[in-house]
Point group: C2
Chain length 386, copies 2
C-alpha cells in the first residue's frame, strides 16, 4: 500500500511515463485514477483571461462534480494554441477515458510547460497508452512527471479520523519562466459531496495558493483539482474537511515557495491594522510584488523605506503618518519614521518576516508569501530558451 | 547668455553647490530663481500616499499658482522623517526665500535621495547660503546637482515662436533604488496664466512621465514643477504651450528611460484595439511591469507567450481568442496563437517595440515605455547600502 501523495488515500491509483514531450527525456505524463465507489470532484482554475485549452476543457468537465481520472503532462502547456489546442486537449481526454474505462466527460486534463507550441500528439498518444497499463500505487512517480523547473517533487499526506487526504503539486508560485505554472491534484477517500469538496477547495486555495505571490504573474494554466473516492466510508464534517484541505494546500504552497526559481529568501509579508481583510491583502500583495523590496531582501538590506514607498502605492486606507514596520520581530519604523537601530537589523537568514501596520486601527489582516528577487531569477528567466 | 536647461528662457537664474549632503562630495544642492516679471507656477506631484515632507510643503505652495524659486537637494529624500522632516522642509523654504528676497510661500522644495534619514540641516543651511550668492546662467550645474544614481545630467530646451521653454530632470522613472526618484523643473519666459500652465503640465505629464514605468514603483518624492516668467512678453496659444511642454517632458522622459538603472533594452509597449484608452493603458502597464516579460527582453527572447500571459491578467476587455502581437513590426502572434517564424525574430538590438492588439475592435490605444530586467538592476538595487 502506498503512503505517498495522490495514491495515499484508498481508491486511487496512478502512473507516469516518459512520453518524450520534454526534450530532456524526463518523465512528462501522468494519470491519476479514482476507482470509487464515489467519483466526487471539485476544481479551481486560473483567473487569467488568456487560459490554456486544458483549462477550458477541465473547467467544463469539473463543473459536473464528477471525475474518474486526471491526465497531466509537463513540457508543453498547450496554451495559445487555438482550435488545434482544444482538439488536442479533448483527444487527451478521450484517450485517457478509453484507457481507464470511463466517459471523456469524467476526465480532467492538465498541461504545464512552454506556451504557444502545439502538443506532439503522437508522443502524447503513445504515452497515455503506456501509462494506463501501469496504474498502481505510484503517487511519487506522478508527482515527478509533472515537474518543469521544479527541483523537487512535491507531495503531501494529511490523515483524518478514519480517512486520508493526499496530494501532489508542481510550480514555483506564479513564477516559472513563461511556463504554465501551478498544478495541484488532491485525492481523498472521504465520502463527501461535490459541494462540500468544492467549498473546502476554494477556502483552502484562497488562504494558500492565492496568497503565494512570487512575482505577480498569473499563469495561463493554473489548476487545482480534487477527487474523492468515498472508499473509507467516513464522512468528515465540513470543518474537518476544510481543515485537511487547507493543511494539504498550505504544505504544498510552502514547498512551492521554497522551490521558487532563484529563491534565496523566503519572505512573509503580513499587513495588520487595515480597514478590512481585503485591503490588507491588497496592501500585502503590493509590497510583496515590489521589485525594490524584493531586491533589498536579496541583499539582506533592512530597507524599511522601500516598504513604506511600496505600501503607499496600495489602494488601501492607511494613516500615512502612523505606519509601523517590523522585520523579524524588530521594530524598524514607527509613526512612518525610522526606529533606533533600524539600519542594523540582521536579515542574513533565509526567512524574513515583514509586518506592516497601516495605522487605521482596523482589524483587517492578511499574509502573503513571496521570495526575493535574485540574480538567479533573472538568469533562469532570461536564459530560458523559448 | 545661457542656452541650456532651466536658464535657457529669459528671466531665470540658477546655481548649484556641494553642500556635503552626499557622502561622495558631489554637487547636491541647487536653486532655480524666477526673476519675473511674472511668477506663474504649476506642479504635479506623486500619488503615493506615503509622500515626503518637501512634497507636502510644495503641493501647498504651488496651489497658490505663484513661485519665485525652487530649492532642490539630492542625497536625502527627507521622506518618512515625521514632524522633523516637515520642519526641515519649511526651513529650506525660509532660508531660500531670505536668500533670494521673497516670501517662503513663493518657494518650492524638492528633495531626492535616501528615504528615512533626517536632513543634515547645518550642511543644507551653509549650502543654501552659498548657492544664492552664485545665481546666474548655470542651468547645467543645477541639473548636475540633482542627480542621484543618474549617470548623465538631463536637460532640455524647446523653442517657441518668440519664447522658450527649458527644463531639467533627474531619475530613472520610478526605478531608483528606494530613492526619491523623479524630479523635473521646467521654466519658460512665455506669458501665461497659472491655469494654462497647470493644464499644459498635467497633459504633458500624463503622456510622458506617467507612462514611463520602469518597475511599477511610485516614489515618495516625485515632483514636476513649472515656472513662467513672462519675460518674453509672448503669450502662446494653449495648444502651442501644450505642445512645447509635451515636447520637453517627452525628451526628459526619454533621457530617463535611457538612463534607467541596469537598462540594456528600451522597450515600448503599445496596446491597440482596446475598448478605450484607459483600458489600453492599464493593459500596457500590466505587460510592462511583468517580470517574465522584462527578463525575456533582457535575454533578447521573442517570447510572445509571456506577453499573452501578462495581458491576460489585465483588467481590460479583450477577445482572448483574437489577440495579436508584433515585435519590432514582425507578427509573432495572431488569433492568440503563434505566427510562423515567431521564435526566430531578432530582438538583439537595444530597442524593442511590442504592439499588442486586444481584438475588441475598439479604438482604445496607449503606449508605455519601460526597460528590461537585468542582472545590473538586481545588482544595483540589492547592493545599495541603506
Amino acid at each position: 500500500m502506498s503512503t505517498t501523495g495522490v495514491t495515499a488515500p484508498e481508491g486511487f491509483v496512478a502512473a507516469a511515463a516518459r512520453a518524450g514531450i520534454k526534450p530532456s527525456g524526463n518523465p512528462d505524463l501522468a494519470v491519476v485514477v479514482n476507482e470509487g465507489p464515489d467519483f466526487t470532484a471539485a476544481g479551481v482554475f486560473t483567473r487569467n483571461k488568456v487560459c490554456a485549452a486544458p483549462v477550458k476543457v477541465s473547467r467544463e468537465t469539473v463543473a459536473g462534480g464528477q471525475l474518474q481520472a486526471v491526465v497531466l503532462n509537463s513540457g508543453n502547456a498547450n496554451a495559445c494554441t487555438g482550435q488545434q489546442g482544444l482538439d488536442d486537449a479533448r483527444t487527451m481526454q478521450r484517450l485517457t477515458a478509453n484507457g481507464v474505462g470511463t466517459e471523456p466527460s469524467r476526465v480532467a486534463v492538465c498541461s504545464t510547460g512552454i506556451i504557444g507550441d502545439v502538443l506532439p500528439m503522437d508522443k502524447v498518444e503513445s504515452g497515455i497508452a503506456a501509462v494506463v497499463k501501469q496504474l498502481g500505487d505510484n503517487g511519487g512517480d506522478a508527482a515527478t512527471a509533472i515537474m518543469t523547473t521544479d527541483t523537487v517533487a512535491k507531495e503531501v499526506v494529511v490523515k483524518g479520523d478514519g480517512w486520508t487526504l493526499g496530494g501532489m503539486g508542481k510550480g514555483a508560485g506564479m513564477m516559472a519562466p513563461s511556463l504554465a505554472t501551478m498544478l495541484v491534484c488532491l485525492t481523498t477517500d472521504a465520502k463527501v459531496t461535490p459541494d462540500a469538496l468544492q467549498a473546502a477547495l476554494e477556502r483552502g486555495c484562497a488562504a494558500t495558493f492565492d496568497t503565494l505571490d512570487i512575482d505577480g504573474s498569473t499563469s495561463t494554466n493554473d489548476t487545482v483539482i480534487a477527487m474523492a473516492s468515498g472508499a473509507s466510508g467516513v464522512t468528515p464534517t465540513q470543518q474537518e474537511l476544510d481543515a485537511a484541505v487547507l493543511e494539504a494546500c498550505a504544505q504544498l504552497a510552502a514547498k512551492m515557495q521554497s522551490d521558487a526559481e532563484g529563491v534565496t529568501k523566503r519572505v512573509t509579508i503580513t499587513v495588520t491594522g487595515a480597514a478590512d481583510d481585503a485591503q490588507a491583502l491588497h496592501a500585502a500583495r503590493t509590497i510583496g510584488r515590489d521589485n525594490l523590496v524584493k531586491t533589498a531582501m536579496f541583499g539582506s538590506d533592512p530597507n524599511w523605506g522601500r516598504v513604506l514607498a511600496a505600501v503607499g502605492m496600495a489602494e488601501a486606507e492607511m494613516d500615512a503618518e502612523h505606519i509601523s514596520v517590523t522585520f523579524n520581530g524588530q521594530t524598524v519604523c514607527e509613526h512612518s519614521t525610522g526606529a533606533p537601530g533600524a539600519r542594523e537589523v540582521d536579515l542574513s537568514g533565509a526567512d524574513i518576516a515583514v509586518v506592516v501596520d497601516l495605522g487605521t486601527g482596523g482589524e483587517g489582516r492578511a499574509t502573503v508569501r513571496t521570495t526575493d528577487l535574485s540574480h538567479a531569477y533573472v538568469e533562469i528567466n532570461s536564459a530560458y530558451t523559448s
